[in-house]
Amino acid sequence: MSIRLGGLSRRSFLRTGAAFGAAAGASGLWRPAHADGHLPDIQTVLDGITVENYVREDYRQLYGMTNDPLWDPAKDWIRTADWEAIRSQFAGTKVRFAIGAADQESAAEGLVPFNQLSGIEVELVPIPDDSIYDKAIAEFISGNASFDALQFFSAWLGDFAAPGFLAPLDEYAAKWKLPLDDFYDTYRLNYGYVNGQLVGIPFDCDLQLVHLRKAIMEEILGGPIDRANSVPTYDELIRITAEANKLGNGVAGLGMIAARGFWATYTWQHIAAQAGMTLFDDQWNPTLNSDAGMKGMEIMLALAQNAIEGIAGAGWGENRAAWLGGQVASNISWQDSGTQAMRPDQSQIVGDFVTIYEPRIPGGLFCPPNIAGSTSVVTSTSPNPEAAFLMLAFLTTSSIMAINEANANGVAPGYRSVLGNERLRAVSQPMEVWANSLEHAWCSPRLPGMFEMEQALGNEINRAITGQISGKEALDNGQAAWVAIMQKNGFAGGEGPISFASVAPGLYVGAGKPLPF
């Protein structure tokens, strides 16, 4: 899950890099890279990017990880890139990367191998962690952003791309052979492209899933959990969470994210999508209060009855704490809830949970939602956009992404070659369900104003959750707000700053595909 307003995932991710930086330093790899040709041997640097050097020792021991790669070296961009050519063109240039202030030191170490491979110097632009997004906006608005590259919440992609804040990356991706095809379609299309133009590289690739506590739910279900069939429908999920709620012992039936703003919207989207909800018709008319939208709302309100206290204020952090702390018997959240639940230093429910295939809704679709996630971009004002692109390509390469997942730091890989790796699946419980579900993923379009729309709708859903208005009123109010916001952002008469045809392929990628179970 990518929303780390406090910088948790970013920091954890960079800690991984820092670990390598330290390892590289200890093994004598680290020397300052210079433009004058005194750069270390490329193969030696690449050989150092291994499980042993990157993955935390306690996790390696816990799962008996060997030094065998958790990725496919043939698809790992850093092992296929022409570093000699990169060095010859960019050694000595400087790239500024916006990053949370607390991450500055670890990032500096994590980017050591990139500097050694490319000769490109990375200057970190520290921004206070809690305000990195606000500051980024301010920088963009100033028209002279003080950084070349930035990682941010993918829902903002339309907002940042439409005014021209982001540099097009198609040319660089083609020139440097970025393995875009290895990304699952849902990530490539929704985190990368706006109006058919590549402006982002998927950074943190998430999917929302349903997780169950094994012992509690097996007791209720009367036997072992079958990931596809034990909870085949949302009606069944409502039933078993109600049963779990009665058991007491400080464990509530369900955890879900229903705080104001985009949080509540995400959970509603998750459920309503399974009922066949599409947010818009092909003329960009919002269809929130359709039958499918209402069905999703009814289910969400029913589930809220079985949820832990405080869900009206539960964002990602609160939900994660309740799940990993063992306070809920089931959870609707991102896949990393499952990965992190396996790690004893993060979780109190190790070995007592299972991630299941999305429950279905009669007449709907099987389409687990790709919600949130983060992307990485180059700013249009960057004096060195190509070098900045190369830095992002390094940070998002499949080996680093695989190791992030092994470290359960919340930065998720979006590559087929990584999610299909059996060695990695052994250390990430949700990965099989997650990978199989991705071929059917649902996603909301990244439009200008989308973040504002998600906020407005979520505020209304939150009111419905707390009984201030009905579910119907929430969706009607949300619908009205969306129409107004879309008009403000230039959508009218089926036209807009982003064409429906350009986003349509990414909204649901499962059409015509066989179910994975």
Partner: protein
Amino acid sequence: MATARRRSPGLRKAFPYLLLAPAMLYLLAITLYPGLFAIYQSLFVVKFVNWTWTGLGNYRLILQDREFWAALGNTAIIGGISLALQTLIALTLAYFAYRDPLIRGWRIVFLMPMLFMPSAVAFIWKLAFNDGRVISDLLMGLGLVEGNVDWIGSIWLARLTLIVADVWQWTPFLFIIFVAGLQGQDQEIEEAARLDGASWPKIFWNISLPMLRPIMVVAVTLRGIDITTMFTNVFVMTQGAPGGATETMSYFIYRQGFRAFNFGYASAASVLMLILTIVIAQTVVKRAFRSGKS
């Protein structure tokens, strides 16, 4: 013999202003300019770099915005209750403490809640009420409730959490000012009243308190102005939940500006809030001092 240098009369007149100029310029740059800029921006629909003139359009929309009025109401309710409680508690504590010699030496202890970082305080209260279930456990231990309390699921409970956090942190501000004000009063007046046979509560109520009134008005007004900008507790503890029942004006403005990117709209709301705060503060102070004179 050295000749004394003389400044021209003009320079002599200007000299104090020249000395003040750097500080004045600095203050103007960080207060007046952003203020004027906000007023200017409030007349536009601002979407990042695109500014479209709308005149008073943002103000018209705001005055029709249910969320704006809700936020204003929440600010008045949460702030009003919090301020009343703080004043009452601070005054009560001051009554018992201001003649105590020990208090003089340990005043700093009473200031401690104010010295903690507001975000850290808010986070601890959030843990106590919601995530950590500490208060629920305490109440269950006392037999007052049977299960975990959903503090954020109820409008009034959610508001209560904000009020408790604010009262805990900021009552010392009023307390210390009240104690200082009381301790600064002429003790001979109290002595005279006591010789006339007045009881301690009567002395406090009829003599000390009226004399404290100007200081109280200023302190409560300052605290009141501060409360109207309540943001940190809301941001950390509730984010305006449930359903906007704890969304204060500051959080509303923040949400409009930095979550919805409606900078012109947010600026207009800020301007309205500023006007409202000035009018209320001015009225309170004026009335208090006028009635004090009479």
